[in-house]
Symmetry: C2
Subunit: 252 residues, 2 copies
């Protein structure tokens, strides 16, 4: 009886197919689960990392705060995403991580990650891939914050979420659940709450999206991509090349 594949495994296998022992190693990592309620801090800026974590269900954010209370949400954490991977290297975190919804997650020692790197080079390659993607996502966010208008930014963010959720089967037919207040949207897009609201309305009124409660439907992905100048290259959704896998796996 095959257990339901976890979001993390889905995410990994979208990039590099796994063998049984590799899948088992991940399952082992994920076995110990913790439930956490909405709006709980998992990592605190300026404090020690509690370890490395994997999100199984629910949404979280990674954000940075200024001393006067302003905050920038740097990225969303969706099911299958990891956080605190830098715990491997740095003792203190320069950012915070907090749940938005009730969530289920696993936390473990950075030593386990190091072990994984040694024993399972293919998994190491996948994690390197995810780190690189994370950086690319943040760079794209910076680009939006610096160059795009509010309208463009909002459209871009929705498309990014769609693509990322599709990988873990949480979006279908251009529809997904968006369990996020407008304040969160505002802090992600560098807008005031009021303007985030008006921007959403404009998107609705222009017929590009439809919202019902927490459910959003991107009615015209093509047109959205057009206004946002969205190109999913930065999400690196293709499979890893054999050569790249080799580089991680083989001795010279």
């Amino acid at each position: 009886m095959p257990t339901k594949t976890s979001p993390l495994i889905k995410k990994i296998e979208a990039v590099v197919p796994l063998q049984t022992d590799e899948r088992d190693f991940i399952a082992e990592l994920e076995r110990d689960r913790r439930t956490v309620s909405a709006r709980t801090d998992l990592v605190k800026q300026g404090e020690k990392y509690p370890g490395v974590g994997i999100l199984h269900s629910g949404w979280a954010i990674r954000y940075k705060s200024l001393s006067d209370g302003r905050r920038q949400i740097v990225n969303f954490l969706l099911p299958g995403d990891a956080f605190g991977l830098f715990a491997n290297l740095f003792e203190l975190s320069d950012h915070s991580v907090a749940t938005l919804t009730d969530a289920s997650l696993s936390v473990f020692s950075p030593d386990l990650v190091a072990e994984m790197y040694r024993k399972h080079p293919k998994l190491a390659a996948a994690f390197a891939w995810f780190s690189a993607r994370e950086e690319a996502i943040i760079a794209e966010r910076a680009t939006g914050l610096g160059q795009r208008t509010a309208f463009e930014r909002m459209a871009h963010m929705l498309l990014e979420l769609l693509k990322r959720l599709e990988v873990v089967s949480l979006a279908n037919d251009n529809k997904f659940e968006l369990p996020v207040t407008q304040e969160i949207l505002a802090d992600t897009l560098g807008l005031s709450l009021v303007h985030a609201n008006r921007t959403m309305r404009k998107l609705r009124e222009s017929g590009l999206i439809e919202i019902e409660g927490q459910n959003i439907f991107l009615r015209d992905v093509r047109a959205l991509a057009d206004v946002a100048d969205f190109d999913d290259l930065y999400l690196y959704l293709q499979r890893m090349s054999k050569q790249a896998v080799k580089r991680f796996s083989e001795a010279v």
Copy 2:
């Protein structure tokens, strides 16, 4: 006769002290040098990575372009910095890299990087550290773009450059060379050229900085850090912990 230590070696040794063989490996990587004139593209968005590169002298930028010509400079590359490290994983680049000044650099195959990871775990640890720092820098830039005013952003950027240049001995007494046009500053900070100019003036007029040609002097670092809400934690300038080095070096 000891050769002058390269910026890269300086940067690495600020994080983890090296042994002779490790230093030799880096020297080998860096031996083959190329001179490139100002405003040359080294990596092009949407195209193949030419390989992995190390900048020895001169400045460069990493930037992303929108299809209508807007561009966001995502990071500066200073002597000792690497670019195209993702060539290891991805075939196409989602960003461009271009020199700002005449520059000297080495480019080599991603296979060499993989070899380094295998043979010299301490160097692998250092490069992982730099990747993590790069991500942290971009996250901090996103935070500035989303939350800080023009004045704050400019002050913040100058402090970041100061700290980074100090590591490779290119800044002393809060003075350094800033070989950058105001257009570049504008595209970094998400401002119009005109406003970048006025913001610079305001910094000068408030006595926080002094400029003479390409040379800049941060007269009051304390006050600058105060207006910018600058905290250098994100630059991770301390040494790597023994435990972290171990994680990379040791078998379980």
